[in-house]
Amino acid sequence: MMIPIRCFTCGAPLADKWDEFKKRVEAGENPSKVLDELGVRRYCCRKTLISHVELIQEIAKLSRIS
């Protein structure tokens, strides 16, 4: 839904890197290079950032009734 605050596997904080990661990858940079520069070295953290799909904007449209 939203980017996980921490890596599921190792517990390293990830959410603080998300905005920059997203911005740079959308600008056309190589995700691998961006992750290296952000200091994300383990593959558990890398897969969490790479495979994340931000769906919250879609879900938030279905607001609550009450």
Binding site: M2, I5, R6, A15, D16, D19, I56, A60, S63, R64
Partner: protein
């Protein structure tokens, strides 16, 4: 025992610990993960939440946000004392959040949390926490307290605390033919250029691998590729201890805190054994 700092950054430290027993290094590693206290959100009081995320999801996300804890260790009661108290006035910090989205969506960041204590703040202020669609509002009070990693991983001061034996490459390029040596070095370059360069310069001897590389690959060298030329050994009285912090405490503080806890625990064990004075001295 001799300790050398191999690498030191604000969140990561690597130490070479020489002539130490495995039990001691492992005890320190375990204490770092499960006993060093840090601040984290324990309970969230929701006054209003009509966002797409359930209260529980938001509470969980708030719990995982690392909070600066260096001063808090002296200021607030320890987790054990807090578990016994009833009024709980001096044990927790409140972080307030009250944000409404009017006609534009709003992303709530960790930096929007307003702490009652400037010493306890989110370490990173750019973590997206909650998404508010137009018309949605969230208002809450998050209560943070000291806790230990054994209770919940969010209270763990370190994300990584690991030790390994010191790898040593024993090699002799003078014995082998030129082609074999070139092939061998080329192969090592695939794992680490630095190491390959140093081995080429040394030609013969023992090389301690202090670089942060995976040495499992050298087993392939010693068993198949560069047989008789190169061998990898692990020195079992020396360790490389890696500590990576969440940001709540600097890695050096985590280590000193772990050692203090180890001392405390050892002392209470000796006392329990009735040997607090006289014999039974341990270092």
């Amino acid at each position: 025992m001799e300790i050398t700092v191999l690498e030191s950054t604000p969140t990561r430290v690597r130490l070479l610990v020489k002539d130490a027993p495995l039990a001691l290094v492992n005890a320190v590693r375990r204490l770092i993960l499960s006993e060093v206290p840090v601040m984290a959100v324990d309970e969230v009081i929701f006054l209003e939440n009509n966002t797409a995320m359930y209260d529980e999801i938001i509470a969980h996300r708030l719990g995982l946000v690392p909070l600066t804890s260096e001063r808090a260790l002296e200021k607030y009661r320890s987790p054990e004392e807090c578990a016994e108290c009833t009024d709980c006035e001096d044990c927790f910090v409140s972080l307030y959040l009250d944000i409404a989205a009017e006609d534009q969506p709003v992303i709530v960041y960790s930096g929007d949390l307003k702490s009652t204590d400037p010493d306890v703040q989110p370490v990173y202020d750019n973590m997206p926490l909650i998404y508010l669609a137009p018309g949605q509002r969230v208002s809450l009070e998050a209560r943070a307290r000291l806790g230990r990693g054994k209770e919940h991983a969010k209270w763990s001061a370190a994300t990584v605390a690991a030790h390994k034996y010191l790898p040593v490459i024993k090699f002799d390029f003078t014995k082998a033919s030129r082609e074999t040596v070139e092939e061998c070095i080329e192969c090592i370059e695939g794992a680490s250029r630095e190491i390959a360069k140093k081995l080429r310069e040394m030609k013969k001897g023992e090389y301690q691998v202090l670089e942060d590389v995976n040495t499992s690959l050298y087993h392939y060298c010693s068993r198949t590729a560069c047989k008789d030329v190169l061998e990898i050994e692990y020195r079992d009285d020396s360790f490389i201890l890696t500590i990576e912090s969440t940001g709540a405490l600097p890695p050096k503080r985590i280590l000193t805190e772990a050692l203090r806890i180890l001392e405390e625990k050892s002392r209470s064990l000796l006392e329990a054994l009735g040997a607090s004075t006289g014999g039974g001295e341990s270092s």
